[in-house]
């Protein structure tokens, strides 16, 4: 077990930011902490890192109790904070070297590690740049390089892709997967469910400081009754047709907004086939049709009754 958290409670006055959290991260995982803004992700991370005092709970990292003085634990952790935390007065190279130097004292080893980190985040052409001259995406990559250059066994990334263009975002996600393949265990927090679905092997969903569900994405989707969602682009919809769709065996909800007919079904099969058969036999004129399996948003929606998205 890489990280083990039991009964963690953190209050800010009356607000319970983390409410009796249990969490276990296994070696080799990319563990996703998914939750909307204010759900307690960062607070939980800061408790795990022994930055925050907490009201109750027990935290072990690498099997040992975590504390501010646990240097043998800390030396193997890499952390990428939610906000960019670099020195504007230092170049890209110097920033990475500075933070790496807090972990690695040997100069030649450090030089190698810093170069590797720069190559890893693709900042090779920007080594001598000051952070002010970097675009938002590149700055995020620098922020990441500063946290991981010392090749930690456990990497914690707190929303590393916030406000990043899609290209940089993909590069970052690929990088995280690569770090994981090279042996690092990763804790990844985000409120973008697509990202979490894309890279995480196990996911914990948080809301208001409470754990709502934990599991692989398949397991999470199994937890809810919702099955597929079929969207049909049609320009006219008669009531009789509407009635047919609404009375289909597995239908949960059917909505038409004048352009798209959105039909949600419970788990079950051949929904799409039935819809297509009906549309063809009644010569309904339609544009596109597509079907989706439930997303983590649907999981969140079904459990909490609200959307995960902002």
């Amino acid at each position: 077990m890489i990280v083990e958290v039991k009964n963690l409670v953190k209050r800010y006055g009356d607000l319970v930011a983390v409410d009796d959290l249990d969490l276990e991260v296994m070696e080799g995982e990319i563990f996703g902490l998914l939750g909307p803004n204010g759900s307690g992700k960062t607070t939980a991370i800061n408790c795990i890192l022994s930055l925050l005092k907490f009201d109750n709970g027990e935290i072990k990292v690498f099997g040992k109790p975590m504390s501010p003085e646990a240097y043998d634990i800390k030396k193997d952790i890499g952390i990428v904070m939610q906000e960019v935390a670099v020195f504007n007065e230092l170049t890209v190279y110097e920033n990475i070297d500075y933070f790496c130097g807090l972990y690695i004292t040997d100069k030649s080893e450090r030089k190698k590690l810093v170069e590797e980190a720069i190559a890893f985040v693709g900042l090779g052409d920007f080594k001598k740049f000051y952070p002010k001259k970097l675009s938002g995406g590149l700055l995020r990559r620098l922020n990441i390089a500063c946290g991981i250059s010392h090749k930690p066994k456990l990497i914690i990334l707190d929303e590393p892709t916030v406000a990043v263009d899609p290209q940089s975002r993909n590069k970052i996600l690929e990088g995280i997967v690569e770090l994981n393949k090279n042996g690092a265990t990763v804790i990844y927090t985000s409120h973008y469910m697509e990202e979490v679905e894309q890279i995480c092997s196990r996911i914990m969903i948080l809301d208001n400081g409470k754990v709502i569900a934990t599991g692989t994405k398949e397991e999470l989707k199994e937890m809810i009754s919702l099955g597929e969602k079929i969207t049909l682009q049609v320009f006219e919809m008669e009531d009789t047709h509407m009635n047919f769709f609404k009375t289909m065996e597995n239908a949960v909800s059917v909505d038409y907004d004048g352009k798209f007919l959105v039909m949600k079904f419970q788990k079950g099969n051949s929904n799409l086939e039935q819809v297509l058969d009906y549309v063809k036999s009644h010569k309904i004129n339609f544009g596109k049709i597509h079907t989706e399996m439930p997303t983590l948003n649907d999981v969140f929606l079904e459990i909490t009754g609200k959307e995960l998205r902002d």
Binding site: L49, L52, K53, K74, I79, M81, A85, F87, L90, G101
Partner: protein, 375 residues
């Protein structure tokens, strides 16, 4: 690890334009401004010999001799008339004299305003008292020494006569520059504020990064602070050199002590900044705002904007001049320049050290905590 943190801290600070501006360029600019503003004043070497009245009720020959010796000759300090109290008070009322010295069981000074003249008379009396009390102590411990006493007093007094208070030396604007260099030492507080910001995880994310690294928090703070202290000491030396060699500000003979004083003052300043950084709530701008504000008030009370202020505080609220570290520092420079004895200087330095210790301990008590209630 020390070298790593120290080296990068130096780089960061030296490249931080705002920091260098406040801690070096701003004081230099102010000193140039002072110099321009005072150039008229400084050139007139019309240092007046101070008119005083002496009411000798005690017939103490020692004091009488002492006051005579500084009221005779070309380089005399006082124009002294011996008279009775009634007449003396009249003279004082008509502003014909700056002060009345009355010698009874005690030696007392009566003035009706405050200013440089008054403070010089006062310092003369203080010096005399100091010499005689030393003499009394020696006597009580070693009665045989009585024979040497008059000689001792005589040398001390003659010292007073030839000391820099001679008219050509007294520079009435010096105090402004002493307050300014004291202010500059206190602007070392910018480094203190910044260092606290770099180590308290609830103040900056960079600090949070350092806090999660496998390094002792206080150690990394001390390493980082050493870089700040080095830069501040270099800057204050540059500033002092500028004041002495470019603007011709006089600091007296004892250069070693003057430099030591700037260094002690700088440490007080840095610890003061750290204290503000640790104690004041709010962001960095609020803290530097408080730092500048407090330093400015302190500088004002010690006479940086308006020279008489120092004496007004000294006469009306003497306690305030001891509670104002900037005044202690400015006064330490002043005492080094104007007195031959070090009592007043040491009192000032002791005060500064007390402040430094208070600031440092309070800072320590706050930053030694390694977990935060809120981030």
């Amino acid at each position: 690890m020390f070298y790593h943190i120290f080296k990068y801290r130096l780089k960061v600070l030296l490249r931080s334009k705002e920091m260098i501006f406040w801690t070096l360029l701003f004081p230099i600019a102010l000193s140039i401004f002072f110099n321009l503003a005072f150039s008229g004043l400084r050139n007139q070497d019309s240092f007046n010999i101070i008119n005083i009245a002496f009411v000798d009720n005690a017939n103490d020959p020692n004091f009488s001799e002492a006051i005579n010796s500084v009221s005779e000759g070309e380089d005399r300090i006082f124009n002294m008339i011996r008279t009775d109290l009634e007449n003396a008070e009249k003279l004082l009322e008509n502003d014909e004299i700056s002060g009345i010295i009355v010698s009874d069981e005690n030696i007392t000074l009566t003035v009706n305003s405050s200013g440089i003249n008054q403070s010089i008379i006062k310092s003369f009396i203080d010096q005399y008292k100091q010499v005689t009390s030393t003499a009394t102590r020696i006597l009580s411990q070693n009665p045989q020494a009585a024979a040497d006493l008059p000689a001792e007093i005589a040398t001390r007094i003659s010292y007073t006569k030839s000391d820099p208070m001679g008219k050509s030396e007294l520079d009435i604007v010096l105090n402004y520059f002493y307050a300014l260099i004291a202010m500059t030492c206190f602007y070392g507080g910018f480094f203190g504020v910044e260092e606290i910001n770099q180590i308290q995880a609830n103040l900056s994310k960079r600090a949070a990064r350092v806090n999660v690294a496998p390094i002792h928090k206080l150690k990394s703070f001390i390493y980082s602070l050493s870089a700040s202290a080095l830069i501040q000491l270099i800057e204050i030396t540059v500033f002092l050199t500028f004041l002495i060699f470019v603007l011709g500000v006089k600091f007296g003979e004892n250069m070693g002590l003057v430099i030591l004083t700037t260094f002690i003052g700088s440490l007080t300043g840095i610890s003061f900044g750290s204290f503000i950084g640790a104690v004041v709530k709010g962001n960095e701008n609020t803290k530097t705002g408080v730092l500048i504000g407090v330093t400015m008030i302190g500088s004002f009370l010690s006479g940086m904007m308006f020279g008489e202020m120092k004496y007004i505080v000294q006469t009306n609220a003497p306690i305030l001049s001891y509670l104002n570290p900037i005044n202690l520092l400015g006064d330490a420079f002043y005492s080094l320049y104007i007195y031959d004895t070090y009592n007043r200087y040491y009192t000032n330095i002791a005060g500064l050290l007390v402040f430094t210790i208070i600031f440092s301990i309070s800072t320590y008590l706050i930053i030694r905590r390694r977990k935060y209630a809120s981030i």
